[in-house]
Amino acid sequence: MSRYILRRLIQAIPVLLGATLLIYAIVFALPGDPIAALAGEKRMDPDIVDVLREQYHLNDPFLVQYWHYIVGLLGGDFGTTFAGVGVGDIMAGKFQVTINLAVTALVMEAVIGVGLGLYAALRHGGAGDSLILAATLVLISVPVLVTGFVLQLLLGVRLKQAGIDLFPVAGVSEGWRGYLLPGFVLAGTSIAYLTRLTRNSLVEIMRTDYIRTAVAKGLPRSRVVGRHALRNALIPLITYLGADLGALMGGAVITETIFNLPGIGQQLFSSVYLREQPVVVGIVTVLVLIYILANLVVDLLYAVLDPRIRYE
């Protein structure tokens, strides 16, 4: 098992290097001089500019700059912005917001998606099933951009006007409640996919021989579904959820913009315009790391959930 983990981690290195190199190259290609951007309207003393350029290796060729960055990264150092602020410090708070948002979305996804999927599977072919399937189609199709604003208007504003103050319209000043609405908006498409996945897996599992055996054993239906079927359905569900955490974090930028949440999406956005290249690279690097780790965890969970899988 530990050898498997090690092998997977080694396999992840080229992915991490490739992804950071790609991002570094894109950021390198961004137009504009970061030092000039730092100075803004004022003219800067050329000597200071030279010192800064030297300090940030800006006069070195691209690959050398990348090398400096990777060496720092391996030591856990994300570098500093040209204004001298630690990138790690900038990112920490922003990632906190985005992680809160993504985890809220993930929990909603798991609860609503599995719940609806289970309901639809048990009423397979019936009216409830068809209704849920139609709803997933709509949920998949309506972009975050639309659900975000519509729900903000309906639940954040109109509901409040009606005297029910459940969901803050924007911002994180009201604690976890501020994440409810954006969390749902971010989870929307995933809820629909997870509903379909749960439904389809369960429908398929309910047709298997081992479920027929469980029925023939005289087990109550609640046990046949809740224990024998659901336990098998967990395997694809966990896989989806695990892989989705990274996708939710990386896809949160529009939701963060609509609801004014100071997360990584917004930070990345402003850093691109402020030419804070180390911050941009740092954010994407952390997201890539999360993606790689989430996939590894999912792989390892496989072995726990499905005894037929063994790693050596």
Partner: protein, 345 residues
């Protein structure tokens, strides 16, 4: 006996000396996109305690559907029992409320399936799956259930039961898996055991061992055994009586020795002739020509007529009833005498 609002199936012998289990004029149909399929078309058979009845037929003959109807595990819809009764100790199971029926299922009537690898849940240990019978039906504790599971695994002669109780199905060989399936089914000493092609997925040598085990378990108790198979060779030593099914009907019923010696239906005769036998070494094997009938488009008259060497004109128009041809025998062939004579010759 506990008093409940639902009718109970008496534990003793039914009044009037009726057999343990009676399937009476059973009809099962499936609704499909292509139309209604009559999978079981007036099947009747009975089973006495301590008896082994072999139900023989090709896939699609309705033998498994009949068994699933007895167990009450047909998918409804698309399946529907349109007519008939299944009497267990005198009580019609088809009229029992689901609650009462689920108290019989697994506990008093149990079933073994063909492919134990797919019939066992891959994510639970075999000990859990056997012990579950005691936990759910008897309210046993986790530890007691495991102890019972080990006992049962010993009883079906799985070597090293104590060590293997925590293993998963995929860690066993095909024969051992079928033994686990059997252990699970006999856990609560059922009165009827239905084995649906229990050896089809196994090697020939293992097949014999499993059949021997089933015969032995049947001898040890007063259990009635229904053995469903398409393989005549499997049943010869084990069965007391045989019912041959074709196209959703029973075409011949007879004690096992009679049918082996003198089949009275052309289909049964064809099946026997296609089994390699030691005493007929060197002879060419006979194969029934043609294809099994399409259940959506059954042939008119006798459904076997397109493949039948004894066919006459009336076979195409008149469906034969199940003729009583002796005190213990029946054949659904207008020309059963000719078939019998042919068998003698």
């Amino acid at each position: 006996m506990k008093k409940t609002s639902t009718p109970m199936v008496p534990a003793g012998r039914a009044p009037g000396g009726e057999p343990l289990l009676v399937v009476d004029d059973l009809h099962v149909e499936f609704t499909t996109r292509q139309g209604v399929v009559r999978a079981v078309n007036g099947v009747s058979y009975s089973l006495n305690p301590g008896e082994t009845l072999a139900v023989l037929g090709e896939s699609g003959s309705g033998k498994s559907v009949t068994a699933q109807a007895i167990m009450g595990i047909l998918d409804t819809p698309p399946a529907r029992v349109s007519r008939g009764e299944i009497r267990f100790r005198g009580t019609d199971l088809l009229r029992l409320p689901e609650e009462a029926r689920s108290r019989i299922r697994g506990r008093r009537i149990a079933m073994i399936f063909q492919d134990a690898l797919s019939a066992l849940n891959p994510v639970f240990t075999v000990g859990f799956q056997i012990g579950e019978m005691f936990r759910v039906h008897r309210g046993a504790s986790r530890r007691d259930a495991e102890k019972k599971a080990i006992e049962l695994m010993d009883r079906v002669r799985i070597p090293g039961a104590r060590q293997r109780v925590h293993d998963y199905p995929h860690q066993f060989s095909g024969g051992m898996r079928q033994r686990i399936m059997i252990a699970m089914s006999i856990a609560l000493d059922p009165e009827v055991l239905i084995a649906d092609e229990p050896t089809t997925a196994l090697d020939v040598t293992v097949q014999a061992q499993i059949m021997e085990l089933l015969a032995e378990l049947r001898r040890e108790s007063d259990m009635g055994l229904i053995l469903i198979t398409h393989d005549l060779g499997v049943v010869a030593d084990v069965a007391d009586r045989i019912a041959v099914m074709y196209g959703g009907r029973i075409v011949e019923k007879a004690p096992v020795h009679d049918i082996y010696r003198t089949p009275a239906h052309p289909y049964a005769k064809g099946l026997l002739d296609s089994v390699p036998r030691v005493d007929q070494k060197g002879q060419e094997l006979f194969a029934i020509k043609g294809m099994p009938p399409n259940l959506l488009d059954m042939p008119s008259g006798c459904s076997f007529h397109p493949r039948c060497p004894y066919r006459q004109d009336d076979c195409v128009t008149d469906a034969p009833p199940l003729y009583e041809i002796g005190p213990t025998r029946a054949s659904a062939c207008h020309y059963w005498r000719e078939v019998l004579d042919g068998s003698h010759g």
